[in-house]
């Protein structure tokens, strides 16, 4: 079942581009990554899903209901963490969390307490006195305290130290195991790579591709580096799929895409001292999407 269904969503701000003809689906129980550089349209898409802004054309459904027409109804089961968190400055953390909880018709106190402990949040402080990272923690707690079925995160990790980031990710994985679907927008590939099952790549307001993370990598790019006494590139020049071939002293390195066996047989014929075969990280693969259309 699709939790989110976006159909040809377009949003323009006057003459400025927002997003153009964006379509993708997020299935129940998925952790779905939404990747693109700053200004590509990630937040515009998310804000439309949350009915904060209205689409110019196209539509989106969440839980099978139109996201604009049924916004208050849908919001009962959504937890949202914006990229920049702003709360009522002169409120105490505990009051803000109570205010947030008061919008949901269920008792959130137990879960709130658990979350506050996990995130090590001091609830007696005023929002105004909190650091950016601590405000973010307030955002996380207030976004998750009602145990939402859909968690929407817009660049959630900025401002969190690595330890808290790890706890936050563990928390998300735990929520996901309990059945929550997660839409995770980011421009940091590493975190998407760690968490997500599938990913939509957005560039200049348009979706470039929607892929499984595993597929992206299994596109069979390998980074191969060989150390040999009498290194020469002769053996590899002729092989189709070899790119970025480089010989430096007794080191040969290249990126290979294709049937790995053809390279392996060549290497088997050589007298080598060392070999490294690595997965290129997503960053290198994504660059391919960003460069290709220019």
């Amino acid at each position: 079942m699709n939790i989110i269904e976006i159909n040809h969503l377009t949003k323009t701000y006057g003459h400025a581009r927002g997003i153009v003809d964006v379509s993708f689906q997020v299935k129940e129980g998925e952790i779905f990554g939404f990747i693109g550089p700053n200004g590509a349209g990630k937040s515009t898409t998310i804000r439309t899903l949350l009915a904060l802004i209205h689409p110019t054309s196209g539509s989106a459904k969440i839980f099978g209901k139109d996201c604009i027409d049924f916004a208050p109804d849908i919001a009962k089961e959504i937890g949202y963490l914006p990229s920049e968190v702003f709360y009522y400055d002169n409120m105490k953390v505990s009051d803000l969390l109570k205010y947030a909880a008061s919008f949901y018709k269920k008792d959130c106190r137990t879960r709130m307490k658990e979350l506050v402990e996990i995130m090590e949040l001091d609830t007696t402080k005023k929002i105004d006195d909190l650091s950016l990272g601590n405000k973010k923690k307030v955002g996380i707690v207030q976004g998750l305290l009602h145990e939402p079925k859909l968690i929407i995160l817009d660049e959630p990790t900025s401002g969190l130290d690595p330890l808290m980031q790890q706890r936050f990710f563990d928390l998300l994985i735990e929520e996901n195991k309990k059945g929550a679907t997660i839409l995770f927008s980011s421009h940091i590939l590493g975190e998407v790579q760690r968490l997500c099952d599938r990913v939509a790549i957005i560039k200049e307001g348009k979706i470039v591709t929607v892929e499984k993370i595993s597929n992206l990598r299994e596109n069979n790019y390998k980074k191969i580096k060989i150390e040999a006494d009498n290194a020469s590139d002769n053996a590899f020049v002729s092989i189709a799929g070899v790119n970025n071939l480089n010989v430096d002293g007794n080191l040969i390195s290249f990126i290979f895409k294709g049937d790995i066996n053809t390279v392996m047989t060549k290497i088997a014929d050589m007298e080598i001292t060392n070999i490294w075969i690595e997965e290129p990280d997503l960053e290198e693969i994504f660059m391919h999407y960003y460069e290709s259309e220019d």
């Binding site: 804000r47 949350l50 009915a51 904060l52 802004i53 209205h54 916004a71 208050p72 109804d73 849908i74 919001a75 009962k76 959504i78 949202y80 914006p82 920049e84 702003f86 709360y87 009522y88 400055d89 205010y99 947030a100 008061s102 919008f103 949901y104 207030q142």
Partner: protein, 262 residues
């Protein structure tokens, strides 16, 4: 209900301060009344020395000045000015602060419709104004009881005092629609002060010419105290225009707020 309570808490302090200021004005003016009413003949001569347009602009009714209600009406001009600023300020800030402080993302992603949000905020603002008026009314009644020398029409006193509430409602809804049409107002106080003073000055100018039709230009002139004292009622046409402003402002505010991008 939670939004309503949240807003009431947020405006508790400022409402308290505004109410206190209104009462301070009443106390200040009313404490002068015994002295003035004692020497009213001298005072009336002095007032007559002012050119007529100035007297009209300042709302000085020479004949009534020595009576408690006449004096109250004169003072009431400053009460309404103060009250209008309070109402306009709360109206402009109560919706726009969410955008300015960027808390709109928090509030508008909660399971509550925009209609309910606006209604809760409107009711909260109305409540603070009602509270202000109740306290003001009680305070003024006590103060007048202290200084009065002869009996006065309670009905007329109530009618005059109630116009503070009506005027505040008009400026409250004006504030709300301004803040919804121009959501990125940087300084709420500047906008509210500017609007209120503009209308106030228009009101002063209109009084000097004494032209009936021009009175529609300034809400400050919708409730003429001299007329109220004389007829023990309001002028229907101005009441209707006042209601019209409130209804149109509110209706438009709701329609725009529903469709707005945050």
């Amino acid at each position: 209900m939670n939004i309503f309570m949240h807003e009431i808490k947020a405006y508790r302090k400022s409402t308290f301060v505004w109410t206190l200021s209104l009462i301070a004005i009443v106390v200040l003016f009313m404490s002068m009344f015994p002295a003035i009413s004692r020497d009213i003949i001298e005072f009336q001569k002095l007032l007559e020395g002012f050119p007529e347009p100035v007297r009209k602009a300042l709302g000085l009714e020479v004949e009534n000045f020595g009576t408690i209600l006449g004096f109250y009406s004169y003072m009431f001009v400053y009460i309404t000015l103060c009250g209008a600023i309070q109402a306009m300020h709360i109206g402009t800030s109560i919706v726009s602060k969410e955008v300015r402080d960027k808390t709109a993302d928090f509030l508008l992603t909660k399971p509550v419709s925009r209609t309910k949000i606006l209604t809760a905020k409107l009711l909260a603002a109305l409540t603070t104004i009602v509270m202000t008026n109740i306290v003001f009314f009680i305070g003024t009644t006590i103060m007048i009881a202290q200084v009065q020398t002869q009996s006065y029409s309670t009905k007329n006193f109530i009618l005059i005092s109630l116009t503070l509430f009506f005027l505040q409602v008009i400026f409250l809804t004006l504030g709300i629609i301004v803040s919804i049409i121009f959501p990125t107002i940087k300084s709420v106080l500047t906008v509210s002060l500017g609007t209120v003073f503009s209308f106030f000055i228009i009101g002063l100018l209109v009084s000097t010419t004494g032209d009936g039709g021009k009175r529609y230009l300034s809400p400050f002139k919708y409730f003429d105290q001299a007329y109220i004292i004389e007829n023990a009622s309001y002028e229907t046409s101005f009441v209707l225009v006042g209601m019209g402003i409130v209804i149109i402002s509110l209706g438009t505010s709701y329609i725009i707020y529903m469709k707005k991008d945050i």
